[in-house]
Structures are given as C-alpha cells and as structure tokens.
Symmetry: none
Subunit: 244 residues, 4 copies
Amino acid sequence: MPPRSAAKRQVNRLPPERRISDIMAAAKEVFVEKGYNDALITDIALRAGVVEGSIYRFFANKRELLVKVVEHWFEEMLRDDAEQFAAVRGSWNQIRFIVYTHLTSIHRDPALSRLMFQEIRPAPDYRGSHLFELNRAYTHRLVDVVKAGIAAGELRPEASPSLVRDLVFGCIEHRTWAFLRGEGNFDPAEMADAITNLVHHGLMLGSEPNSPMESVITRLEAAAARLEATTGIASAKTPSSFPR
Amino acid sequence: MPPRSAAKRQVNRLPPERRISDIMAAAKEVFVEKGYNDALITDIALRAGVVEGSIYRFFANKRELLVKVVEHWFEEMLRDDAEQFAAVRGSWNQIRFIVYTHLTSIHRDPALSRLMFQEIRPAPDYRGSHLFELNRAYTHRLVDVVKAGIAAGELRPEASPSLVRDLVFGCIEHRTWAFLRGEGNFDPAEMADAITNLVHHGLMLGSEPNSPMESVITRLEAAAARLEATTGIASAKTPSSFPR
Amino acid sequence: MPPRSAAKRQVNRLPPERRISDIMAAAKEVFVEKGYNDALITDIALRAGVVEGSIYRFFANKRELLVKVVEHWFEEMLRDDAEQFAAVRGSWNQIRFIVYTHLTSIHRDPALSRLMFQEIRPAPDYRGSHLFELNRAYTHRLVDVVKAGIAAGELRPEASPSLVRDLVFGCIEHRTWAFLRGEGNFDPAEMADAITNLVHHGLMLGSEPNSPMESVITRLEAAAARLEATTGIASAKTPSSFPR
Amino acid sequence: MPPRSAAKRQVNRLPPERRISDIMAAAKEVFVEKGYNDALITDIALRAGVVEGSIYRFFANKRELLVKVVEHWFEEMLRDDAEQFAAVRGSWNQIRFIVYTHLTSIHRDPALSRLMFQEIRPAPDYRGSHLFELNRAYTHRLVDVVKAGIAAGELRPEASPSLVRDLVFGCIEHRTWAFLRGEGNFDPAEMADAITNLVHHGLMLGSEPNSPMESVITRLEAAAARLEATTGIASAKTPSSFPR
DNA sequence: GATGAATGAGGATTCATTCAT
DNA sequence: AATGAATGAATCCTCATTCAT
C-alpha cells in the first residue's frame, strides 16, 4: 500500500558509514539504558535521527543490531589492548594484565558486559558467531600465556591451560555479578591483584629451588610494599610495573 | 487458537498443598522445555489440570512461580547433599565433593541451571531473595572448607576463601556454558577431578616443604599480615600478602 | 509484560457461541465491505463489541476467520437448498435449479462470492480444506444429475459428467465477473434459463435433422418467439414450473 | 537487510526501449516466481540491473508494471495465434483451435495465467484497460466462429454466441484451477478434444432420432407455456428458449 | 474455591515510493 | 538520466493477568 503522507518527505542523505555509526551509537545508548528487551526500535531511531525503516536497511532485525553493537564494543576493546599486551613480559604480569583489563571493561561498561553474558552468550547461535570468535581470541591470550609459562618451565606442566582460562574468566564473572546487578562497586586493580596472585601462585612450579627468581622477587616486593603501606608510607597498589 | 473443547475441565477440589505441587511440577516441566519467556501460563495450567486463575491463587505472577520452582529444586539438591557432605574428610575430598555435586546437578538439570544463571541471578531483586540465601549457603560450604584448611595449616593462609569460592564456581560455569547451550557433553567426575586438583594444588601450603625461599617468603608475608592486623590501619579485608 | 492499564477492566461475559457468532457477523460485514486485505482486525473487533485479543481466542488468525466466515455462508446456502433440491424432478429442472441457486447466491452476496473465488480457491491449501469438501458436495449435485440422466437414457452417454460440471460452473463465473467487479447487474432467472437451455439441449439425446418431432418443436418455439416479440409484453422470469 | 555491497552498481546508459524490456523481463520472472504481492521492486530492479528509482521512470507503480508484463505476454500470444487461426476451416476445428491454444497457454504459463485471473481481471479498473480489450479480441474469435456457424446453417441459431464463449472459457478455467494451484497436471490436447466435442455437439443442428419422449414433452410444455404467457395469461420474458 | 472468557496495551517489521544528489 | 538512501504509515498478533460467574 502506498504511503498516504500528505506532508512532503524530508530526505536527509548521509554516507552509509555515518548512518550506520549513528544508529549503532544510538542503539548502544538505548540497550545500555534499557536492556535488550525493553529497548525500543522507535527510541533508537529517534536518537539516531532516522526513521525506523532506515534501521532495517542496515540491520536485519533488533537482535542483529544488538550483536553488532556488542561486536563493535568488543573489537574496540581488543584493538586497544592488543599493542599494550604485546609489551608485557613475565607470566604474572601478563595474567595480571589480562585480568585487569577484563575487570576494567566490566567496570567501565557493566551494561554491555551484561548483554554479552546474559543475551549473547547463552543463545544457541552463539557458537559460530563472530562474537564467539572474538571472545575466543580474547580469552585465548591467557591460554597462550599459560602454555608459554609451562614451556618456559615456569608454570606447572600438568595445569590444563584451558582450565586455567575458565578459572580466571569464571572467577571474574562470579566476583562481579553483584556489581553487574548494580550492587556496590569494586576496584579493578585490587581485584586483579588478588585474582592474579591466587592463580599465579597456584600455577607456579611449587616454589621449588628451581623456581624462577622473578616470581620470588615479585612476591617479596609485594610483601615489602604492604609492610611499607602499613607503616603508612604510601599506597602502593601495584608493586609491579604494570600499566593501567 | 481454536475454540476450546466442549468438555469442561473437572472441578476438582484438592488440598492446597497438592494443587501447589501439581502446579509446580507442571511449571517445572514447561520452564525446562521452553525457557522462561516462551513458557505459557496456559500450558502450565493445562498440564497441572487447573485453570489459569488457580495458578494466581497460589503464585503472585509468572516470575514468582519460576522462583518457587527453582527454589524447590535447589532445596532438594541441598538436602540431598547435606548429609553426604558431612561425612567427607580432608580438604581435597571436600572440595572435590562440592565441585562434583555442582557439576552433577548442572549435568542432570541443565535447563534449570540456565534458569538460575540467566533469569534469576541477574535480576535486581536477587540479592535479598530466598534463593540468594540458599545459594549463599550452598557455596559457603566451600568457604568453610578453605577456612578450615587454612586453620589446620593445610592450606595457604593468604588465600581469600571467598575468592576461592568464586574461582571454583566461576570456573565450573564457564566450563559448562557450551553444554548449557546444548553443545556436546562432559563428564562430571573427570571435570571435577581436574578442577579440584588444579585448585587444591594451588592452595596447598608450599608444595615443597624444603624450599628455603618459600618458607622465607611465607614468614615474611605472615609477619606483614600480623603487622597490618596490629596497626589496624585500614579495613584489611585480606590479611594476606594480596595487595588491595 | 503485564498490562499497565490504570482503569479497571470491564469484563462482559457471554456464552462462547454468542461471542463467536458476533465476531463472525462483524467479520463478514467488514470482509464484505473492504475485502480481505483491507479488512482490519481492529475494525472487526470494534463492531463485534470485543477486544482484538478476543478474536484470537477463537480464530487462529485473520485468514482462518475469513475461511470460517465463508464456510458458514456456504453451509447455510447448502442447508437452504438441500431440501428444495430434493423435490425437483427432471434433468432440465434439476440443472436449472442448480444454476439458478448458484446465480442467486452470487447475485445476493457478490462480495462473499469474490472472496471465495479470489482469496480462498486459489490458495495452495484449498484442496484439503473443509470448504473444498463443501464446494465439492455443492457442485457434485450436478454431476449426479448428469449421471442419472445418462443412466435414464435421457442424456448423451458420452458426456463426461465432471466436464459438464465445469462447463456450467465455469460459465456462470465467467458470465458474472463483470457483475462481481461491480459493473451492471444481471437477472439470475433469465441467465439461469439461458444457461440451462444451452447446456441441457446440448446434452440431450436425439433431435436429428430429419426428426419430425424436432422440427415441429423448433417451429413451435420460433412461432412463440415471434408472438412474444410482437406483443412485447414484459419480463417474465421463469416460464417453467421451477420453484424459486 | 545487510548493508549493501560496497561495489557500486554500474551507471549504464541504455536506450529506453532496452531498459524497459530489461525491467519487464525481470518483473515477469519475479512475478511468476513470487506472485504479485510477494514480488519486491528491489528484487526486480536487481535482476534488471537497474535501481528502484529507474523503474519508476518507466512505470507509474508496481501495479502498472504488472499490467504491462501481462499485456506483453498476452499480445505475444495473440500475435502467435493469429495467422495460424486464420488458416483453420470448419467450426469444430476452429473451436478446437481456440480451446487448445488457450489450454496450451495456461499449461505453459500457469503463473501468468493466475495473475490474469486473480489479480488483473477482478480489479475494478479492468474494464476500460487495454488488457480488457485484448482479452475481448482474444475471446471474441469464438463468438465469431459461433456466429459464422449459425449463419452457415451449421450451428443452432438459438445459441447465444456470447454465452457459448463464457461456456468455453469458463469451463477451461474451472477445469484448470487445480493445475493452477500446482496440483497435478493435464494434457491440453486431450482436454481440448473433450471440451470441443461436448460443446460442438451440443451446438450442432440436429441430433439423433431416438430422442426420449420425456424431454420432447418437456420442451413442448415449455413452448406451450410461453405461448400461453404471450397470450397475456402470465408474464413471458423468454421468447425463444434462448433469450436475447 | 474454582473457572476460563475477556482484557488491552504493545512493538517489531515491511516495502512501495520519493527525491536529493 | 540514473542513483539508492531514506521515508513512514500501517497492522497483526501475543499472553500475563483479571474478575464476573
């Protein structure tokens, strides 16, 4: 049926990339504010300065829009982390980096994290999706760290790297659920240290004589730092050279 | 929907407890088969042999019905485990028991587990709910085990018991997501062993008793902890060498 | 999502049969006025004095509602005709009855006839539908008449009864399309006579060129025609003993 | 819908005739495959190698495009038949030719035939359209044949040629509906023979001598009734047994 | 206490058509 | 003349919840 609009149409032509990014920005806002179910396409269109139909030129449906928004967020995160991570040396520091950045992204974007955990990941089509691959790459860095650590004789060879990955990411999620529900707050740096230490310690080739000096030193430094802190000197949250 | 069958539903006056359990059994079935959103009250009523209105005599709304169903499942699980658990001795065995029973319940009731993880836990009213308390008790057993292990000098004193709890339960969830999505299978016993070993080993006091450095560090750490505790400066959540 | 109506609901409880007939009456009206595509469920609900949702308690969708409305109309027609038809004797009269009643129903309910011809019959699920069976019974009366006529030695044995059926019903449709489009009018009785005569004559056994009776009849008929034309009296619908 | 491919459509300046025929060819394909409602302008444009806007340079709207496509098909059919038909002699052969070619075109292009029957013919603007005229010419050949047959003393003079036309074309449509719905198949030659024989025999002057008395009596009675009516006794509209 | 018909707000999605470029 | 992004009206259907009987 032809539209019966009386008023002349106002067509505002923009380059597609711009339109797409406008729509995605608006969608991100609305999804973050309302969650997936309560987000209205009308609202998104309104904020993006387009008509509802225009959204469907670029996105097959509301769900695809959600996926694209989360993908975008994820890719940006990966891009930002990638070079920094490349510069980190030592298994403790690397694990700490991964844990810390993950915690930070949860802390910065709790709503998006929830969408990922609650809406995207449980879906039956998740495996096979681009996000699945992105996430795989994201978490696989930890697997590589553990593998390298084992190869270097630094970490216990019987530790399954993939199990360690689940340990770490699972722990993070479990520990942040209250925050994701909007209850209280947490300090990413502090929590990162705690998790990293616990995990790293557990993985180390048991303080054996042949334990690498580095980690011993690290722990000594940590202990010293706390002593110092107790003495009142300064807040030394991160005794390592770890970038934040 | 076609006009309902002419045959009237029977007016069965039953004791309320029976009604409630019928409804909950039907609801459990439907929630398991369809998930929360796609479960229809009509369907539940039909299977329970009551009419929709009767459900609302006993449950305020669909959500409460879900919560009650999951609660019931959870309580049953707890009851079953409780006595068995009481008989387990040794931290490894206790951790292993907790991990194994959790994995088993996921393996047996993946749909209910999903409802718990996806629908119940993320809700803003979760904290404060009965299920939150039940779950707290459920997971707290692990906290107690760790605490006891530390007290017994068996486990590392600087390990935060609550962090260990998150480590374990988070790991389990992460590792079973694919299964919960319906992809593949897993062996609870095998996975329980792997997780327990990894965690327990990491928690044990100085794998190598005769490592000189280790004991040095440990003593340093312990000293620092005591110093901190004594000075009582800040809220010392973690009296261990874990920096905040 | 629960309804957020502020105002109290007004529930108007009626026996289901009444509701259904109300809805079907309203639907019939709207379908007749607007055609299938332009008919709005909202409009139907409004006229039936119910809410849109109530329609969906009894009819799966708009299409089923259409089908039910047409079915009802058709069944009524069949019922009305059935006993009258049983009383008609002679193949000419029987064919004439069938043709006349069909033309009458088209004349009385052109919009419903269109729905049947345009919307229902071309649908891929038509065969196998109840309407298909009804229509089959409806048109099959003609097949039976022809078969009986052949058996009685009255009609030509080589005429395929089913072909005669298509001849008659096809002819009627073709001849009434202009009327169905809203162009002009037609006189069912007159058209029924014409079609019946043409078909019946073509089917009859006998009437060789050299048949004396034949020429007698033909001449009688011609004479009558001339007389009629001369007197120019008036429209006389059915000169036969045909019940109307 | 996913964002369109980056590759721009080529700007091909083509002679308008070529553009039009490309568009019509594409439209024919799509209409045939999907039917009118489900045919998308976008799809047609894509297959024609133009953009949507270009279609609207040549066709006022989707409906006009449909009409033009069917017109084109119809004109081609007429052109092909015309010369062949001119060579056919004898009323049986001519009727058979018309029936056969009509059946053949339905058999060859069922989808286009459906569009004609379902979409075009029932429309209120059909009368007055070019297609109406084309179809009139198409079916009028049969009228001419009948008229010529009557004039030649070969066919019964009281048969209304236009009624015969409706008889034939209506019969064909009725008999092919199942095929048009995609159910089963038919043999045009065989069906053409059956229809032609039935109709032609019925139209021929004079039949057998062994006509049963009953029908003779029936017709005598009818003639008498009309005579009586003419004499003023009752209303008598039908002068011959075939009014008009 | 049980019944179950009735409520009614809600929202994603489609696609022919337009018109600025 | 060609492009194709943008328009925007329009509507079917769902289903938790209520409440007259």
